[in-house]
Amino acid sequence: MKKSIGYISSCGIWIALALAPLVLDEWGVSQFAQYMTYGIFALSLAFIWGQAGILCFGQAIFFGLGAYLMALTTLEKFSWFGGSQAIGLILAVLGPGLAAHVVGQLLFRGRGLSGAYFAIVTLATAVIVEIIAQHWSYIGGFNGLLGVPPLVVIWREGLDAFITPMENYYTIFFSALLIYLALLGMVRSPLGIVLATLKDEEYRTRAFGYNIANLKIIAFTCSGAVAGIAGGLFTTQFGFVSPPLTGFALSTEVLIWVAVGGRGVLLAAFLGAIVVRYIENVLSDTLGSYWLMALGTLFIAAVVVAPRGLFGKLLQLPLPRRFRQFVPKKL
């Protein structure tokens, strides 16, 4: 059977990312590793927004929480973990996952908040979390926490132990690929199809016996965990965490990346983050404050004119394999 365009382009993108260090200088390698980290963050949002129609305006809460947990652990603020990066990363998954679970329980249970109300409540929560982070001196207050060490390679000693930009690139690359494949597997499973029905027709799905609140909470929990690991990886590359990482501005930015890339297709959202961050880096010096305007315009265009985003159509995968046999034979 002929492979679809979406399948070929998706593989192409991962191959291109795997080979990118061949043509990038050291600075470029570290930049693209950071873009991919934002890409993981974008995946977390595309998973709930694109698949289940849960529009979260406070996604940075989970990203920031992951970043803070990683920083607090490796800076030995949680002294009983001895600065272990492994434990830091585990906490950066579990903490935000748990936080998302709790938020989900509060917002989806009972009658449940939907649509615009959910968006507004999550937005307000992000604002509140950011303010709390600003005023909590244990986690560094306004300044945040500085000097977060890069990842170390456990079998090397001393200063050599710190990860090289190239090693870092592939660490992020394989993390992103793994997370992508896990989410993709979920999206294309029967559970993913059920989640997709929650966008517009949850009443129908409920009337078949599905517990909608539970399904949304599960999706939201996974999303929070993925955003958290992105935050944890972020802080090892940037070397700091600060309150804006948990707040409103970053929450909006990730929405823009996902909308511009294409929220309905995971890889499109991932690519959206990389492309927008890349263009921003290239153009923000020349455009200055006009950059935000340009980005805003792009966002409006993506939402109004091209709801599938820049890459949604190109990267659209064919129906899952289990349905292939039902494709009617062409005469």
């Binding site: 997709a196 517009d200 009337a207 078949f208 129906l319």
Partner: protein, 254 residues
Amino acid sequence: MPLGSTTNTPLLEIKELSKKFGGIVVLEGLSLSLSSQELRCIIGPNGCGKTTLFNVATGALPPDGGSVYIKGEEVTGLPSHEIARRGIVRKFQVPGIYKDLSVVENLEVPLNASASRSAWKILTAKPRHSRMLELLDICGLSSKATVLAGSLSHGEKQWLEIAMLLASDAELILLDEPTAGMSILETEKTAELINRLRHQFNKTVLVIEHDMFFVRLLNCPVMVMMNGSILRVGPYDEIRKDPKVIEAYLGRAG
């Protein structure tokens, strides 16, 4: 034969059900009972509360009074997914299909409804190819299996939704105006499909209908709904002749 108790206990029993919207009384002391493997039809003028009856019976809306039993177990006030899990599914008046998903995906959701208690079970549910083929055949959509449901014709949407109800394995099927917007030919096919639900698949079926031509085709007991409760029950031909019914409903319909 099923166990003795199930033959006597009605599959669905509704007692003294009432529902108001604001000051408007829509259901008032409505009672009905449906045995296993029955086919019945509810008729009544527009706005008399037929859809509301389904909404309350399936837990989509809470009743203001009265109770609903499924196989003798009271389900009044349970969340609608809990009621659905006890074996009752419905077709919505405006077709409840997933318009942005393909026909096969539409069918997969109810096919996995029995796994709905656990996300892990849904995630790992095995595809059931032969069942899927059968369902596609039943709704006549084998050649459109991968088409988006939103692009189907009016009739096809209704048939798809009926096949989805069948896919769910629920024993009791409620159909809200399954022939709305259909041609005569399509209406006849729908009557045939509903008779198959009853006779080939041993389902219990309760149909809300407006179209008298279709009601006659179904050839089943008819309940006439008026002023929020059941006015009369009987075969179609008797119902037609009942002066009270003619005055209340048929007379006006011409």
